[in-house]
């Protein structure tokens, strides 16, 4: 199993797409922050808004804000990376070479999922580290303190918890794109359905909420609704979440259920189905 994970990590590491997307994630966040800071320095911007922007560009607030950004754009990019990683195995025919060499199908899928999950963690950690690093010169440029408070155990704990709250929905997005790609055997379908879901699901949740009654309760079990609820808890110390926000435990359990459903579906379909060989009738 370890060699299979190494194989999948090698494929991801050597793929230019992996690095381009990571670069996009980092670059867009830094560019967005720089633009916001520049815009806030213009005349006519209300002091309250300016203060919020400057706080978001520096420590410690840059951490939850960056993680929210990663949870949004990162989910899109990881869906694309996942669908490309699995879909190209079908389109390039490499799947038949790997499976035909005797690799058990379930282990192949597990190794690929573990490698993609590693990418999801990297897509969270690497941009966060860079953003935190960039916050130091930013504070110096803005003539603000580098850190409003000291770094202690609870602070580090909060950061780790925030990262976990960000990674979990990303993993669910990976599982969804993965399952769709395996079922449809299409990279385009994997990307398309996973991205469409991010638009359709909030709309569905809104409609269900408007219909009320038992239907409104269904929205509480949608993946993105719970992912968004979980992100609401990101912050330092005791975070005040809007009234009616789903509990963290509920959100985590629902997200884990969706992940289990997607992974099980992918596994069942992949294990049962013949691997297409072009001239095989």
């Amino acid at each position: 199993m370890r060699t299979l994970i190494r194989m999948e990590l090698l494929k991801l590491r050597k793929r230019r797409m992996t690095w381009i997307m990571l670069g996009m994630l980092v670059g867009l966040r830094l560019a967005g922050t720089a633009f916001s800071v520049f815009w806030s320095s213009q005349a006519g911007v209300e002091p309250e808004i300016r203060e919020r922007i400057l706080a978001s560009a520096t420590l410690p607030n840059t951490i939850p804000d960056a993680l929210n950004f990663i949870a949004g754009l990162g989910a899109f990019l990881l869906a694309i990376l996942t669908a490309a990683s699995m879909g190209s195995e079908y389109s390039w025919g490499t799947l038949r070479a790997i499976i035909g060499s005797g690799v058990p199908r379930s282990r192949f899928l597990a190794a690929k999922l573990i490698a993609l999950s590693t990418a999801a963690v990297a897509y969270t950690v690497v941009p966060l580290v860079i953003v935190v690093g960039a916050a130091v010169p930013m504070a110096w440029l803005l003539d603000r303190p580098i850190m409003a408070s000291g770094i202690d155990g609870p602070w580090v704990g909060d950061v780790l918890l925030m990262m976990a709250r960000t990674v979990l929905p990303l993993l669910a997005q990976v599982a969804m794109a993965f399952a769709i790609t395996v079922v449809t055997r299409s990279q385009a379908a994997g990307v398309g359905v996973a991205l469409a879901a991010t638009f359709v699901e909030p709309l569905a949740a809104l409609v269900l909420d408007m219909l009320g009654g038992a239907l409104a309760a269904i929205a509480d079990y949608l993946l993105l609704v719970n992912a968004q609820a979980l992100m609401q808890y990101n912050g330092f110390g005791t975070v005040q979440v809007p009234q009616g926000t789903l509990s963290q435990t509920h959100a985590v359990l629902v997200i884990l259920d969706w992940m289990a459903l997607y992974v099980t579906t992918a596994l069942l379909v992949f294990r049962r189905r013949d691997i297409e060989v072009r001239s095989a009738a």
Binding site: T3, L4, R6, M7, L10, K11, K14, R15, R16, S88, W92, G93, T94, R96, A97, I98, I99, G100, S101, G102, V103, P104, D274, I275, V277, R278, S279, A280, A281
Partner: protein
Amino acid sequence: MVMTDGRAVLRGRGTRDERVLDTVLRVEGLTKRYGRRVAVQGLALKLRRGEVLGLLGPNGAGKTTAIAMILGLVRPDAGTIEILGVDATRERERALRRVGAIIESPSFYPYLSGIDNLRVLALARGGVPERRFAEVLELVGLTGRERERVSSYSLGMRQRLAIAGALLHQPELLILDEPTNGLDPQGMAEIRQLILRLAAEGQTILLCSHLLYEVQQVCDRVVILSQGQVVAEGDVEELLAQRTRTALRVDDPPRAIELLSEVEWIERIEQEGDLLLLTMPSERQFELSALLHAHGIAVGELRVQSRTLEEFFLDVTGPSTTPGGRGVA
């Protein structure tokens, strides 16, 4: 003794038969249906160690489906597959551990270099020693090109890299499905030479092809599939000898036809002008001559017409299943 023909080298070494010790691949009753269509029906194969077996058939005959079932890519509806004594339908991983295969066109990660593609295949196999990469690259003639991206490789280079990948873990059985597909004549000749070299080294090979000249050059035995079923199998030379035609010119063709149609070892009589073409064992030509002479039919010409595998193939699969073009040596 100078021998340029690969098969002559194999047969001339004299040690080949000594290495034919045990069965590497045994397939029995292998069947695959897609809805109502039967892709493979009751296929039986036996491949002994050190042997090169050709699996032939026109497009759609079921060759690739059969290989896909052997490699566990396609689930058979019935039948057993045993590789080196291991039931491949139950213990796929263990059975395929000593098998190397290329199926259909070579498949690689185009963004990776040749050596990285080999690394991926090696990791899929659980890892191979680093020195093995250099050995297989040398064997297929890709040394010095391994750092280039596969997307820049020609089809011939990809085929050779695929063979290198299949040989990485020193398999006991090598399965090659259409290894010269899409290659130019020079590429075909290169791959054929490589297969001949591997065969000469004692590698057991199952070669699936529709290029009959190629198979005739390389294989010891052939199995011919048509519409998913075995229509002929055996030693290449024996098969061709069985179907040898004897051309006969006589003074009274109608009487000769009447007489010869009663002879049980004459399978078929065709008439082309004043020439009779008899499908019969070539070793019975003296008997044939004596028979005609005894009945007062004068023989003007009697010669054996040797047949190519292509002619034999068309004979057993029917004219509607014309195979692909012949390979060029």
